[in-house]
């Protein structure tokens, strides 16, 4: 068991090193001069020279990579070309918002998705199943910006139930409970948009997982033992399907981050997605690389967590 954990951990390190190197190379391969953005249409040769030295863009590539690499390991992602601020300072205040949005929608979509998946699997090929399948297919096939705009038009403009943008009301200065409530009130729309598509995917995957599981011998045997339907589901199927549910959720984290970009843009949610968009327009390389590495690392960690969860669930892995 310890050996397994160690093995997984040693696999994580090269992946992260690889991501750092790959993103560095990708960004440096590209044409374009970051100073152009700073000059924003003006500036002379001397200005360019000055800025280039300031951001060490005139050093050889390998030196830059090594410097960047050792800095990242020390938690220093450099400073933004655009604002001159440490990248970490720009990322940290936004992590909270993105984590809140993504985690809450993963949480909600897991509950809804697994429940719908169970329901559909239990009544496989019957009406409930078909309804779940149809709805989820539709939700997956619809562009997310459509869903988001429809929700905005309906709930923010026509009904006026939920706010259209942001994480808190304009100029909100309350704290504690009032702040939490205000945040939740703002969270509901963007979270729902993300959760609609996620829960659809989770429902479908859970359903397939359980349907396959119900065909398995040990479930047949459990029924042959005289267990009722409910007992079969609760004692055997649910536990067995936990593995596939964990796999599904672990695999969704990257997608949720991706989906969050569009949702954050539409709902003015102050998270990493917005930062990536604005930095990509400005080619603010240090910020982009920082976010890219961070998000990738988050997915790596989730994968690790998924594997470790298997270990808890599955004795075959645990007792290896």
């Amino acid at each position: 068991m310890t050996k397994y954990v160690l093995r997984r951990l040693t696999q994580v390190a090269p992946t992260i090193v690889g991501i750092i190197c790959a993103s560095f190379i990708l960004v440096r391969l590209a044409p374009g001069d970051p100073i152009d953005v700073l000059a924003s249409g003006n500036g002379d040769e001397a200005y360019y020279e000055f800025m280039r030295t300031k951001y060490q863009l005139d050093e050889p590539l390998v030196t830059q990579l090594w410097a960047y690499f050792s800095n990242v390991l020390r938690g220093d992602f450099g400073t933004s070309y655009l604002t001159g601020e440490p990248v970490v300072h720009m990322i940290i205040p936004r992590i909270g918002s993105t984590v809140l949005l993504t985690l809450s929608s993963i949480f909600v979509s897991t509950i809804i998705g697994v429940m719908c998946g169970l329901l559909a699997a239990w009544r496989v090929d019957q009406t409930v199943d078909r309804v779940v399948l149809r709805l989820s297919t539709l939700a997956i096939a619809a562009p997310s910006f459509w869903i988001a705009q429809m929700m905005l038009l309906l709930f923010a403009l026509r009904l006026g139930i939920f706010p259209s943008d942001g994480r808190n009301s304009p100029g909100f200065s309350g704290s504690g409970m009032a702040r939490t409530i205000d945040t939740i009130w703002h969270l509901i729309l963007p979270m729902t948009v993300l959760a609609i598509q996620e829960s659809s995917t989770i429902a479908r995957l859970t359903r397939i997982g359980i349907v396959d599981l119900l065909d398995e011998d040990h479930i047949r045997l459990a029924r042959a033992k005289g267990l009722s339907d409910l007992q079969v589901i609760s004692r055997h199927a649910l536990r067995g399907s936990l593995r596939s549910v964990v796999t599904v959720i672990g695999g969704r984290v990257g997608h949720v981050f991706s989906g969050a970009v569009v949702v954050e843009l539409i709902f003015g949610w102050p998270g990493l997605g917005q930062l990536v968009l604005s930095s990509s327009q400005a080619q603010d390389t240090p910020v982009l690389m920082g976010v890219l590495i961070l998000v990738a690392a988050a997915v790596v960690v989730t994968n690790l967590a998924t594997d470790l969860t298997y270990m808890v669930i599955d004795p075959r892995v645990r007792l290896r």
Partner: protein, 259 residues
């Protein structure tokens, strides 16, 4: 199940027809101004006109072509890279396997959309770049499936026997694996490609697609700002994407489930 399969299949057939016969099916050149900007659907312009007065129906018809190109191109890259990496990795094992799987993991953990945004920011947009970006970020899942299949076949008694007789094992594996993979690959690919369609639309929505080649994603994504004042520019291309994505997923559902 039969009906779903037909829906998927007929959707794809319509799509392919639109793509192949676009010049004959569209009443106008989709790149030319043929009317007033933002005129509502009429007999002249079934889907209305866009901002600068181009016929939207022709745009949607021609868009089938670009979208098909993107989907097929991405699919080909994914299949090629995944097969190569999966087969080599599963067959050779050892350090090469470890190395390739680490590389696959790197591509897998960086969210595709993030990477696409960053890559387009640095290299510019364009259909061929989009295909490369989407292709290169999507192969790792299929590669893992291929690798697992290769491993299991390599270890099966059958191949052991074949090795004993000195037959060309790699070819054997190849011949054994491909048929086994087809259902899984179809499910994987159709789901992936429907995502690719939507992803392209999302990229267009945030302003990162190529205006030189009209695709559904471009038409739908770039016109969302006018949803409320000229619904047709946002709705028709969006519907096209939805139908295509639906066709792909239902095709995958049914094809994948047939053993």
């Amino acid at each position: 199940m039969l009906r779903r399969w037909h829906l998927g299949k007929s959707g794809i057939v319509v799509w392919i027809c639109l793509a192949l016969f676009a010049p004959w099916l569209s009443p106008f050149d989709p790149y030319l101004v043929v009317g007033d900007g933002l005129s509502a659907p009429s007999w002249n312009h079934f889907f209305g006109t866009d901002l600068i007065g181009r016929d939207l129906f022709s745009g949607v018809v021609y868009g089938a072509r670009t979208s098909a190109t993107i989907v097929i191109g991405t699919g080909l890259i994914v299949v090629f890279v995944a097969l190569t990496v999966g087969l080599v990795s599963g067959y050779r094992g050892g350090i090469i396997d470890d190395l390739l799987m680490r590389v696959a993991e790197i591509f897998q953990v960086v969210p595709r959309f993030f990477l696409a945004i960053v890559a387009i920011a640095y290299f510019g947009s364009g259909v061929e770049k989009l295909i490369i970006i989407l292709g290169l970020t999507s192969w790792s899942g299929l590669a893992r499936i291929v690798r697992a299949e290769t491993l299991s076949i390599r270890e099966s008694a059958f191949v052991e026997a074949a090795q004993l007789f000195g037959s060309r094992t790699f070819r054997t594996i190849f011949r054994e694996i491909l048929p086994n993979l087809v259902p899984t690959a179809i499910t994987y690919l159709t789901l992936l490609l429907s995502r690719v369609l939507l992803l392209e639309a999302s990229l267009a929505f945030i302003g990162l697609s190529d205006p030189d080649s009209i695709s559904w994603g471009y038409l739908a994504g770039s016109s969302q700002a006018y949803l409320r004042s000229a619904w047709w520019v946002a709705v028709f291309p969006g519907l096209a994407i939805m139908m295509a994505a639906l066709s792909l997923t239902s095709l995958g559902d049914s094809e994948g489930r047939r053993e």
